[in-house]
């Protein structure tokens, strides 16, 4: 607590430095975790593909070439071609963009709404808390994919609607986690002290409570990107997500179903891509959880 405040709204660097040191320690624990590093490296690779897909892809992802349809993998077409003769490798590279966009944005949207609701619920308590949490219970009463399915039915199938639909199922998860963390932070003495000094609710929430609940939030967000990618590709597989000829992995898998007998590679590679990207986020999420766990001090 030494030197936490020296006037009503400026901080001595002590607190900030302590927080920075803490993150440094977390980072050093994280890089010592082999599986987290593997997961992180794959995510980095996928991010590079997101930005450089047009430079990396050897072919146009939607250019049809009926003379070369359903070709098996070769040096010309690394992952073969699909039923319209399109190069699967190029489609997967472009599909990475959609996958990562859906993953990040749906979690960002779900987390933003969930965090706000969770903090308000935990901080103010009482009736507001009851109302918010009962509404969250209602959303939790639908198995994730079903809620997303219902929302896409209402909004119609498109990439943006998939993002909205998938984000909805993560709102109650974030709200619950953040509410629980807020409740425990709120009880700390220094929050009382700050309040006694006359800080406003908004200031307490954003300057003092929020920075203290980021650890569980980061872990949950990372793991949720994995779930979001799975749900979104599921919706596209059902024909409710990205529409043809968009190179979306779930939709590509759906195309591949019809060629399992004579061209199984059409379904193989999009599926493998989903597995790798989801695995990467799960590995990083698990690693972050261990690194941020207060029990795992060096």
């Amino acid at each position: 607590m030494v030197g936490m405040k020296n006037s009503s709204n400026t901080y001595l660097p002590v607190q900030r430095t302590a927080r920075l040191n803490n993150w440094k320690k977390v980072f050093s624990r994280l890089v010592r975790n082999k599986s987290a590093v593997i997961g992180g490296s794959f995510i980095l690779l996928f991010m590079i593909i997101v930005f450089f897909a047009p430079l990396l892809a050897p072919y146009d992802p939607i250019q049809q070439d009926m003379l070369n349809k359903l070709q098996t993998p070769s040096s010309e077409h690394w992952f073969g071609t699909d039923n319209f003769g399109r190069d699967i490798f190029s489609r997967i590279l472009y599909g990475t963009r959609l996958t990562m966009i859906v993953g990040f944005f749906s979690v960002a949207l779900g987390a933003t709404i969930g965090v706000l609701l969770g903090i308000i619920s935990g901080y103010y308590g009482g009736k507001i808390d009851s109302v918010i949490m009962r509404i969250m219970d209602i959303f939790l009463a639908f198995p994730g994919i079903l809620l997303a399915l219902a929302i896409v039915t209402i909004l119609g199938g498109s990439l943006i609607n998939v993002i909205i639909a998938v984000s909805f199922s993560s709102i109650p998860i974030f709200a619950r986690i953040v509410r629980a963390s807020t409740l425990s932070v709120k009880k700390l003495e220094y929050i009382d002290a700050i309040r006694a000094l006359g800080a406003s609710d908004r200031r307490i929430i954003f300057k003092h409570i929020f920075p203290n609940i980021t650890s569980p939030l980061i872990v949950q967000a990372t793991l949720n990107i994995a779930t979001a990618i799975l749900s979104a590709s599921g919706l596209s597989f059902l024909g409710l997500g990205a529409q043809p000829p968009t190179p979306e992995w779930g939709a590509m898998l759906s195309d591949g179903r019809n060629y399992l007998f004579n061209a199984p590679h059409v379904a193989l590679f999009p599926g493998l891509s989903i597995v790798i990207v989801v695995l990467a986020f799960n590995l990083l999420g698990d690693g972050l959880r261990d690194a941020l766990d207060p029990k795992n001090k060096d």
């Binding site: 509404i135 219970d137 994730g144 994919i145 599921g234 179903r257 379904a267 989903i274 597995v275």
Partner: protein, 318 residues
């Protein structure tokens, strides 16, 4: 205990009301005129008006809601726009398959998950432990619809293996579609159960490790109790308590996950009914099916909470 059960049941009432409002609103949240959307673009004015009348869309919203709920409570979920059959009838003819699929998948997941979790925990940090946990992570990260397609490819269509491998010239052991016979059920159950098996294995492992580290286990070992008894009689019994919650939640999740599995294996369950009805814009069927699955999910969660409380009397719910 009785008080707890009553209180827990009372707590589900607002959730049930919320679910009913949400499901009811589905139809009204669709941009545009629901009657027109359901009738299709080429429908005549008369047809659209018929659908509007059939769904009672001319009444004020609250009246429509109370009518919907009033009928639903009596088992009337409306009429399918496409088939003209009662929605309840449609659901009744399909729901058994979906519950069977989710049930067998949960049983498989429990069986594999708990065994794998215990083996992993008792051989912590060994090669086997790492292997099981890597497999579990893969199970968790695999889209089940892709796993389903791959299983069809390997074990229904079959793969060409070199002829010198005995007994394995042909791997087309199972059927790629339908539901009912053993050959038809193996692949869908494996497809749907794998993800849950992975979750249960991870949960069992961490729960076992928690328990094994506790004093009473050390005491039992110090007293010279046989290791197998320590693990299976002392540790596992307590380690399984948190696993119960996960198992219950998984059953609910699998009811939802059946949507994809049923689509992959062309199984005529409730999940496929939902997907087909979305495609044909048959909203009364979609609403009814979503409502039923949500109700089942709430019921399962209620039972899980009660089971958890019975198993662990120390837990004090607010």
């Amino acid at each position: 205990m009785f008080q707890f059960i009553v209180r827990r049941i009372l707590q589900t009432i607002p959730v049930l009301i919320g679910i009913s409002i949400l499901v009811f609103s589905m139809l009204h949240l669709i941009p545009g005129d629901p009657a027109q959307i359901m009738a299709g673009e080429s429908a005549t004015k008369e047809q659209v008006e018929n659908i509007r009348e059939q769904l009672g869309l001319n009444d004020p919203l609250p009246v429509q809601y109370f009518k919907y709920i009033g009928h639903a409570v009596q088992g009337d979920l409306g009429t399918s726009i496409r088939s003209g059959r009662d929605v309840t009838e449609e659901i009744e003819s399909r729901i058994g398959i979906t519950i069977e699929l989710a049930f067998y998948s949960t049983v498989l997941a429990i069986f594999i998950g708990i065994i794998a979790g215990v083996i992993s925990a008792t051989r912590k940090n060994s090669f086997i432990d790492t292997g099981i946990m890597v497999l579990a992570l893969f199970g968790l990260s695999m889209p089940n619809f892709w796993l389903g397609l791959m299983l069809i490819q390997w074990f229904a269509i079959g793969i060409d293996l070199p002829s010198w491998i005995p007994f394995l010239e042909d791997t087309s052991w199972f059927k790629p579609s339908g539901w009912g016979s053993f050959e038809q059920m193996v692949l869908p159950v494996l497809t749907l159960g794998t993800g849950s098996a992975a979750i249960i294995a991870r949960m069992t492992r961490s729960s076992m490790l928690d328990v094994i580290g506790q004093d009473y286990i050390r005491t039992a070992r110090a007293k010279g109790v046989k290791e197998s008894i320590v693990i299976y009689r002392h540790a596992l019994k307590n380690a399984l308590i948190p696993v119960v919650t996960v198992v219950g939640l998984q059953f609910g999740t699998l009811l939802g996950g059946a949507v994809l599995t049923e689509t992959v294996f062309a199984i005529n369950g409730l999940g496929r009914l939902i997907v087909d009805s979305i495609a044909t814009r048959d909203f009364p069927v979609v609403q009814g099916s979503v409502l039923i699955i949500a109700l089942l999910f709430v019921l399962v969660n209620l039972l899980v909470d009660i089971a958890y409380k019975l198993l662990n009397k120390r837990i004090d719910f607010e």
